[in-house]
Symmetry: C2
Subunit: 217 residues, 2 copies
């Protein structure tokens, strides 16, 4: 259950495997070989086999992989076989957008609370979740078994809030603020960054570089 020393590159690819397997499952496909999957996903079959074998022998020689089984196993690896309670801290546009995203719930990420510092938002409901003030956070975290906090606050407030969350038992931060929380928080707190403006800059770089140019290869 506890896999250590698996490279970040492998982990990054797992959700994509999971997605393709889900689609195959829906399409009623029972088995798939690494070769077939590699064609669909445009990666090498070798990579698929190497990646999966980090976690165990999910396939069978001469047969390939059972789609349903592999899908279930990857779900377990990613922790999608159980529910994770999540709160969203910062009920601005982005925070509310996340609260409205029903699809996270389907993967087991349940939004149990929505918080903000702005008193104007107090009591406003988003998809049935009432916005609370941040002074209620410590108690709420303890009483609601909160594991994950999505941080959708301006960078100026993010660091202090992150510390507060961690002090009160939050184990994972989904960080949308443009600051490197991981450099400041205890090492056992998991941080996943979504830095939208950096993503947009990479897009812009590629636009600069490839645009107008004939694509080689």
């Amino acid at each position: 259950m506890d896999q250590k020393g698996i490279s970040r590159a492998v982990i990054k690819r797992l959700p994509r495997y999971y997605r393709y397997l889900g689609e195959l499952l829906e399409a009623g496909v029972e088995r798939i070989s690494s070769g077939e999957l590699s064609e669909r996903m445009k990666v090498t079959a070798s990579q698929i086999r190497q990646d999966l074998n980090n976690f165990g022998g999910f396939g069978q020689q001469g047969y390939g992989y059972n789609v349903r089984h592999l899908h279930t196993e990857i779900a377990k690896i990613l922790g999608l076989d159980r529910t994770h309670n999540m709160i969203i801290v910062g009920a601005g546009n982005l925070g509310q957008a996340l609260a409205n995203y029903a699809s996270f719930e389907r993967s087991g990420f349940k939004t149990v609370g929505l918080f903000d510092v702005n008193p104007v938002l107090k009591g406003v409901s988003v998809r049935g979740i009432e916005i609370r003030m941040t002074d209620e956070l410590p108690e709420f975290i303890r009483t609601h078994n909160v594991e994950i906090a999505a941080l959708t606050l301006p960078k100026t407030k993010a660091l202090e809030m992150a510390k507060c969350l961690v002090d009160n038992g939050v184990k994972a931060i989904w960080n949308f603020a443009l600051t490197d929380l991981n450099l400041i928080l205890p090492k056992d707190v998991v941080v996943e960054n979504v830095h939208l403006s950096e993503s947009l800059m990479r897009l812009s770089y590629n636009l600069n570089t490839y645009s107008g140019e004939e694509h080689k290869k």
Copy 2:
């Protein structure tokens, strides 16, 4: 101006350098050495020097890097020295959240239009931008010099819409839909994916793996 063959890993780091340099600039720091910067950013000085030297010798022996100059140069590399017109296709929660994000504008990404298929949204304004119906897209793209389209539609509609956008001259897609557009679009169209649910799954994996465990090193 046209850098070819620069690795994706380097590009991924550039926006972060840019951010740190911006902060130094604001703090009034004039010069910085790779060693000093490496300490702040928790990367090796070697990596910083290697990365920057892909684009030219921005430093000076015995002195280090001039913060303002380096900041400006990275901006140029990332294409932040000019304005990019962007539209947002899909005016749901996420689309509206992006439209409200003023900070993109500050980096030169200007939201000039907001589109949806839902007639209920027609004419609604978000931050002064009126929501239009998607049948107006082709003309709008041509007349407004649109380079970038943010795709914030459900996956089912994303592919068809992406094709339409590209047919009408969009060169870059900022893709929030959970589908691999890059596998289907022409190779000279730039795609940058923001797959939120995959990000959340990686967070969940790490939560599974590191939680409770004493951190080694």
